[in-house]
């Protein structure tokens, strides 16, 4: 059974059709990329899966069970974490506190035991710290651990956002343009982290990304969207030779010269 199954989804905003009859499924342990021109509906698809918007028709299943009746806050406990295209961190908090929020669904201490900060609450806090520290270690965020988000450079924020999603220990992580705005060096780091997230943490990855270099390097399968429709689905090599993809996404109308 597929881990995540999107069936015949249609979404409209006002008069504009954002997604039309989109279907695909993601297998456990896969790195699944979604590419396409701007405004093709990629982010809408993410917002649908993380339940920030409602479909007009269609079905989204996680492990065979529909998630359409769930609210955004439920998705974390179902094991779906995400990052945002525009980076949406808790600006006034430190990196550490941001990652700790990622542990929110794993909290156990009761209201009262938090208020008196019982030994159990303390033990739990320390356990959360350890988990977060593993993420910090994984993403090499030591240098900015105690810094507030507001003063961090763009590249670091991008990594912190991935870290916040990983701190949740999710089953699937949705990465919305993880490498956009990163320098060549940073985006290479991101590329390795993405493959490590799967290899070392065993997390399935669904990502939207424009950088075809990165997409071909890490992903198993690629879904190409244009104007809300699926125009191709296959391995990176397959979709990159698809004529419609060449035209709509890469802007190449004839066979590439080389």
């Amino acid at each position: 059974m597929s881990l995540l199954d999107v069936r015949d989804v249609t979404i409209r905003f006002g008069g504009v059709t954002a997604l039309a009859n989109v279907s695909f499924s993601v297998e456990p342990g896969e790195i699944f990329a979604i590419v396409g021109p701007n405004g093709a509906g990629k982010s809408t698809l993410f917002n649908l899966i993380s339940r920030f918007c409602e479909p007009e028709a269609g079905e989204v299943r996680l492990d065979g069970a529909s998630i359409l009746d769930r609210r955004p806050a439920d998705m974390a406990s179902l094991g779906i974490a995400r990052t945002f295209q525009n980076i949406d961190l808790f600006e006034t908090s430190t990196v550490l506190q941001n990652l700790l929020i990622g542990r929110h669904t794993r909290r156990r201490a009761s209201f009262a035991s938090q208020a008196v900060f019982s030994p159990a609450a303390r033990r739990e806090e320390i356990a959360h710290r350890e988990a977060v520290e593993r993420v910090i270690d994984f993403l090499d965020l030591h240098a900015s651990r105690e810094q507030r988000i507001a003063g961090l450079p763009y590249g670091t924020r991008k990594v912190v956002e991935v870290g916040r999603a990983l701190a949740m220990e999710p089953r699937i992580v949705l990465l919305d343009e993880p490498a956009s705005g990163l320098s060549t060096e940073e985006s290479r780091d991101m590329q390795f982290w993405i493959s490590d997230i799967r290899a070392e943490l065993g997390i399935t990855i669904l990502m939207v990304e424009h950088d075809m270099g990165l997409v071909s390097a890490v992903s198993d399968r690629v879904l190409v969207l244009a104007e809300g429709r699926v125009i191709a689905l296959g391995t990176p090599a397959e979709v990159q030779s698809h004529p419609e993809v060449l035209h709509a996404f890469l802007g190449i109308d004839r066979e590439p010269e080389a």
């Binding site: 982010s43 993410f46 917002n47 920030f52 945002f84 295209q85 525009n86 949406d88 919305d176």
Partner: protein
């Protein structure tokens, strides 16, 4: 027929609320600041008109006194922006809220020190004249209030939606940084906005004074007008007028059909109801964030 009469009175009252609310919305739409002193500015405008025009005070001709009050309040609004708001440029909304609340206290004190705490009545040429429409008797000041309010709302609405300056004002409130990048002089626009708000407050004050008496605590009417602006959907000019009218109508009818004590609380009950069912008011100006 009594209901109809109540309605007309309520509408006229509602127009004054609407005009004060218009001032709130004006400032919010153009600067994203919330001016809690708008009611007190209205009160000040009323006193200035009385101070200039009444026989016992300045003794100027009525129309001159009105124009004078509008001009003085416009200058006052601009001065307020320059001295109080500009230092807070870029600070959070809440700082401005607190500042204007506190400044309202100061204005009430100043007005009390100058004009005293006893209610004053404005002399005006149409005082006491009536027009009869069948069974309904309209006083001329009520008609004037309604006409001026509708006219002002319409003009401001056109100003914001049609003129380049109006659109620039909206742009400046939505994204100050981007407005600067486009060469919009954000600070000057803030000054202009407060000037407009001052003038609107003066107009509201004159109309308020035309209908009854004024004392320094009249500024507290601002809170009710605030409720009106929120009911209408903060940021919408026609909404402000509509909200004002709703509150103006709810008050007399609650007093008549529920109990006298309830006239005070009815507007707030309506406000809370509206907010529960339409969290951003009747003409919502809030939209979803792009993820």
């Amino acid at each position: 027929m009594e209901d109809l009469q109540l309605m007309v009175g309520g509408l006229a009252n509602g127009c004054v609320y609407g005009l004060i609310a218009l001032g709130f919305v004006l400032i919010y739409k153009a600067t994203e600041q919330v001016n809690f002193a708008q009611g007190d500015m209205m009160m000040l405008g009323a006193f200035i008109a009385i101070g200039l025009g009444n026989e016992s005070h300045g003794g100027l001709p009525f129309w001159l006194a009105c124009v004078g009050a509008v001009v003085i309040m416009a200058a006052f609004g601009m001065a307020m922006e320059r001295t109080l708001l500009r230092p807070l440029f870029g600070q959070s909304q809440i700082a401005v809220v607190i500042l204007t609340i506190a400044f309202g206290f100061v204005l009430r004190f100043i007005a009390g020190a100058i004009w005293g705490h006893d209610p004053l009545v404005m002399d005006h040429p149409i005082a006491g004249t009536h027009v009869t429409f069948g069974p309904v008797v309209l006083s001329a000041d009520e008609i004037a209030v309604i006409a001026v309010t509708v006219l002002l709302t319409g003009l401001l609405y056109l100003f914001f939606s049609r003129t380049k300056l109006g659109i620039a004002m909206q742009a400046a409130s939505q994204n100050q940084l981007a407005a600067y990048y486009m060469g919009i002089p954000v600070k000057r626009i803030h000054g202009l906005t407060w000037m407009l708000a001052g003038a609107t407050a003066a107009a509201a004050g004159i109309l308020f004074a035309a209908k009854g008496s004024v004392d320094p605590s009249a500024g507290l009417l601002g809170i009710k007008a605030f409720a009106a602006a929120v009911i209408g959907g903060f940021g919408s000019l026609p909404g402000a007028l509509l909200g004002g009218l709703i509150i103006g109508l709810v008050e007399p009818f609650a007093a008549r059909y529920v109990a006298a004590g309830y006239a005070q609380i009815a507007p707030y009950a309506v406000l809370i109801l509206v907010l529960i069912f339409r969290p951003h008011g009747l003409f919502a100006q809030v939209s979803g964030k792009k993820l």
